[in-house]
Symmetry: C2
Subunit: 383 residues, 2 copies
DNA sequence: TTGAAAGCGCTAACAG
DNA sequence: CTGTTAGCGCTTTCAA
């Protein structure tokens, strides 16, 4: 029943001594009870809790932090966008952080912000955090040298979600770095369908995530001995996908495109369609993310789903471990599965030669062969 | 050049006394410099700053908070979703909070979480915040009585974004509550087009925002003396929109639907199309939010755009004012404009009688008649 | 303009 | 099992 209870303006907030007095114990005992330390008799514990309840006692976190040297909070650096990927990651992080008993402090990096990730981390360090999560970092000064750039030095454990920028810290963890693997899966799906090669609508190359995807795509084509057409760079927006689509529509060699995210894929499809090139009959398109509407656009989008929650959870578990066991070894990584969701935006290329193998297959997992593929297909099969 | 600088593990962090010693002044003077207090000679200030720089000094926030009683941080309660609306609001909030010099603490409410908003607020109060922002509240126990529910009592100023749940606090501010007005605009647009009435695909009614939209829709129909068909309730997802679409497709009286968000609108359109009902020729659909891909789906979606950034900015300015001037009057509210973005998912109803007035008009603003309408139309006109 | 002293409310050693 | 004694690193008084 403590729900939402709080002091009303005037009365000063009760302190642990007040509780101690009321319960007839020492202040330290109150502290013990609230920290779930052992060696407190059930009877005393009950009395303390009761007194605390009566007074509406709430521990003062500033005092706690000051005395213990631990803030019990984790800072996260995110991009200042409502983009599905970063937003999902942030939500996943919040969930896990709260579960672990830490508080979450958030700072955004805005694109174009000169201070970039470094500034955000700095501000977090100023605020005082026990660990830092850098989500989907982007590398603001691609020019290098504009800011006297040494790797970022941080004195708390760091978890980088996505791909790692240069960071120096007592412990650097990464999670969810499998973007290249996912790009590989997407590209290979298209190749399997019989396409000669696959074009790529890339994300902004300042984003490590975008570079990873591009790299995975390129490597796959190379591994198959296919031509690597120049990639078109977008900015994650559907608008940029649309613009790229107008370009690509003019090149009749284009029969398959792997877009670095679903928004761009949707813009791309629209442009293609408007230009008279049907999807998937003339051109196949694969997206990336599996945004909520992906199954409902026309045609339903074949895409790669990132396991945001799993990534956040696994990464944070390791971060918290590093925070609470300084000096200890990092917990082992486990690669979350990547799922290719095959819907209706991909098909074999317009007849020319029938592909020998690779008819459309069902959803499949990579990285964890035992993981059962998720339901795919049209809208009706999604929750 | 302080970018990213931080202590390396072993050396204890320098304190203000260390800086004082090095600068040859008292510790209090260091404090003065860092708080930008007056009465410090330029010379002394310089020496202090220099010493601080040399030592890599960083103020200890816990100590500051403990001594001053202010945490200089604002807590925000959001939904644990990557939904465009809530995510956008959160990003907007972060931006402004940082600008005002406060730190941001985030706690999510998960749907189905028994503690709900109350629990989230409680956790924020535990952590210690100077003010609280509740974003898009939902009212978890619609049943009432399940938790002995008195209005939430909070002892710091509160800003509610969206629609206000019952809250008791020294100062309760609201911003962005114009959802009913926006719903009105959307509904009226459809009526202007000549539709006899408008159906509504509502959001989950536990959400205040969803209720507001429904109310705006209902009121508009009533005001025009039109029949108010039963609303269909979805859960914001495209999947739920799709399900609703299958239902509505069977009712040939349905010629216009106002969906409470874009995701549902997209699912709805897909179901309608699959059922052979063309959009907008047979059925017009209006969404809500103007998500990034709205202009690129087929057909491009007519929707209502919420001014997230403006709402966050305005609300926070008022919250910070309330925090820093306890007892003072709240700053006045200004209603941000609501924009109806007309694209291709709406049209006059299938011929029957030609509507007297209301041919498709350009984008228009409500609430701020002087505000120039934003560019609308197809993809090509979007950035 | 500057400094000295006294806490803020809690946790961390140590006793008992 | 429980209590005592010190601080944690600042901001506040109040003097100088």
């Amino acid at each position: 029943m403590t729900r939402g209870t709080a002091r009303s303006g005037s009365t000063p907030a009760p302190r642990s001594v007040d509780v101690a007095r009321l319960a007839g114990v020492s202040q330290k005992t109150v502290s013990r009870v609230f920290n779930d330390e052992q060696y407190v008799s059930a009877e005393v514990r009950r009395r303390v809790l009761e007194a605390a309840e009566e007074l509406g006692y709430r521990r003062n976190n500033a005092a706690r932090a000051l005395a213990s040297g631990r803030t019990r909070s984790i800072g996260v650096v995110t991009l200042g966008t409502a983009l599905y990927g970063p937003a999902s990651l942030l939500m996943g992080v919040e969930r896990v952080v709260r579960d672990t008993g830490y508080a979450l402090r958030v700072v955004n990096t805005m694109e174009g912000d000169p201070a970039g990730v470094a500034g955000a981390v700095d501000s977090l360090l100023d605020q005082g955090v026990d660990g830092i999560v850098i989500s989907e970092p982007i590398d603001e000064d691609g020019t290098e040298g504009a800011g006297g750039d040494t790797p970022l030095r941080i004195d708390v454990p760091v978890l980088v979600l996505g791909a790692p920028p240069p960071v120096t810290a007592p412990m650097v963890l990464t999670a969810g770095g499998g973007a290249d693997l996912m790009a590989h899966t997407a590209t290979e799906h298209l190749l399997d369908l019989g396409h000669r090669t696959v074009h790529h609508l890339a994300g902004p190359q300042r984003w490590y995530a975008a570079r990873d995807r591009l790299e995975g795509w390129r490597a796959t084509l190379t591994a198959h001995g296919r031509a690597v057409p120049p990639a078109v760079e977008g900015d994650w927006s559907a608008a940029s996908g649309y613009r790229a689509g107008r370009e690509l529509a003019e090149d009749s060699d284009v029969t398959a495109v792997f877009a670095a995210n679903d928004d761009m894929a949707i813009g791309l499809i629209r442009a293609l369609t408007e230009a008279g090139r049907r999807v998937p009959e003339d051109v196949s398109v694969v997206g990336f993310d599996d945004i909520p509407v992906a199954a409902y656009v026309s045609p339903p989008l074949t895409t790669v789903r990132q396991p945001f929650d799993a990534v956040a959870q696994e990464g944070l578990k390791r971060l918290v471990h590093a925070i609470e066991n300084p000096g200890a070894d990092a917990l082992p990584t486990s690669n979350p599965p990547v799922d290719l969701i095959i819907r209706a935006s991909t098909a074999p290329p317009p007849s020319r030669t029938t592909p020998a193998h690779g008819r459309r297959t069902a959803s499949r997992s990579l990285g964890d062969p035992d993981h059962p593929p998720l339901p795919n297909g049209g809208p009706s099969s999604r929750h």
